[in-house]
């Protein structure tokens, strides 16, 4: 993996992208915008599942409108994040807090998928069993917590490890 990171960092395309101020700025803007879109839309769906947002709309209605933006935001974050990582791939690879960040983000994505599986099931039957409502609430709460955790981890990577 370290060899791959060394190769990636020295790749002429990556070197060119990393040394361009304009492209670096565009990538950073794409990363922040994607992250806001991803976390903002996910948080609203999670809060709806928890019963504290947009209560006069069904969870499916809210999710239908916002989930496409969650996945679009994720795509923007992954695309820009890859190029931001590639420029300092070795340093990122050796930084423990970056590993922690990636683990939290992956876990948050898994919980995002779980919420998207749960949402249509909340509206499918007229009376949702209490145990399912509790499970849905807990999954949404964990999803929200993990995304907030991923913001914290993202802020801590440059502060604690000096990369990024």
């Amino acid at each position: 993996m370290l060899l791959f990171c060394e190769w990636l960092q020295k790749n002429p395309w990556i070197v060119a992208i990393d040394s361009s101020v304009v492209i670096s700025l565009i990538l950073e803007i794409l990363h922040y915008s994607g992250f806001f879109l991803l976390v903002g839309s996910t948080a609203i769906v999670d809060l709806r599942v928890m019963g504290v947002a947009a209560r006069y709309r069904t969870p499916t209605e809210v999710a239908h409108q916002l989930f496409p933006w969650m996945w679009t935001g994720l795509g923007m974050v992954l695309f820009s994040g890859f190029f931001m990582f590639a420029g300092d791939a070795v340093d990122f690879y050796l930084a423990d807090c970056f590993h922690t960040k990636i683990k939290i983000v992956l876990l948050a994505i898994v919980f995002g998928v779980l919420v998207s599986w749960i949402v249509p099931r909340l509206d499918r039957v007229p009376v949702v069993p209490l145990w399912f409502k509790i499970v849905a609430f807990l999954v949404a709460l964990l999803s929200l917590g993990l995304w907030i955790g991923s913001i914290y981890a993202s802020l801590e990577v440059p502060a604690q490890c000096g990369v990024g």
């Binding site: 700025l25 915008s33 806001f36 879109l37 948080a43 809060l47 409108q65 802020l155």
Partner: protein
């Protein structure tokens, strides 16, 4: 004018909360987390509404229905972002006040973008024709997206003008 701002900044930086944030190992990252969580809610929900005005993505809900569904958490997001931002600013106010990127961000772009968003929320219904939005409404939505991109550009440029 700058002298009066600097005097206020010096006073702010010496308040008990500012000294606590700058002197504590956990408070600064916590305040940063608060600011970014609020921003994710605020910018994420704004972009979702603007993209709906532009007619991109799911059209199941009209722009005014989506605006009403997101309203409460949209403004809660702004309140959290402002609270976190004020705390961050307090902890290093004298460093931020003379920073041109910060001046442009907070003095021009953020107030204009927030007022523009109020306009979008108040008038979204007027620009709708069933599930379609007029060309004027689309333009208003596009301008808001560009305004928030400008805010992000100014924000990521702040460290480039940092004197320290």
């Amino acid at each position: 004018m700058l002298n009066s701002f600097m005097a206020i900044a010096k006073w702010l930086q010496n308040t008990w909360w500012a000294l606590y944030i700058s002197g504590s190992t956990w408070a600064y990252p916590f305040v940063q987390l608060t600011h970014f969580t609020g921003l994710s809610l605020w910018v994420g929900t704004n972009l979702s509404l603007d993209l709906r005005l532009l007619g991109i993505g799911s059209k199941r809900q009209t722009a005014s229905q989506l605006s009403a569904a997101l309203f409460a958490w949209n403004w809660i997001g702004l309140c959290i972002a402002v609270l976190g931002g004020f705390m961050l600013f307090s902890s290093a106010a004298t460093k931020y006040v003379p920073n041109p990127a910060f001046e442009i961000k907070l003095g021009i772009l953020v107030p204009v973008a927030v007022l523009w968003h109020v306009l979008v929320q108040w008038h979204a219904r007027k620009w709708e024709k069933g599930h379609r939005v007029s060309a004027f409404g689309k333009t208003i939505g596009l301008v808001e997206i560009l305004l928030w991109f400008s805010v992000i550009i100014a924000a990521v440029s702040i460290p480039n003008y940092d004197a320290h």
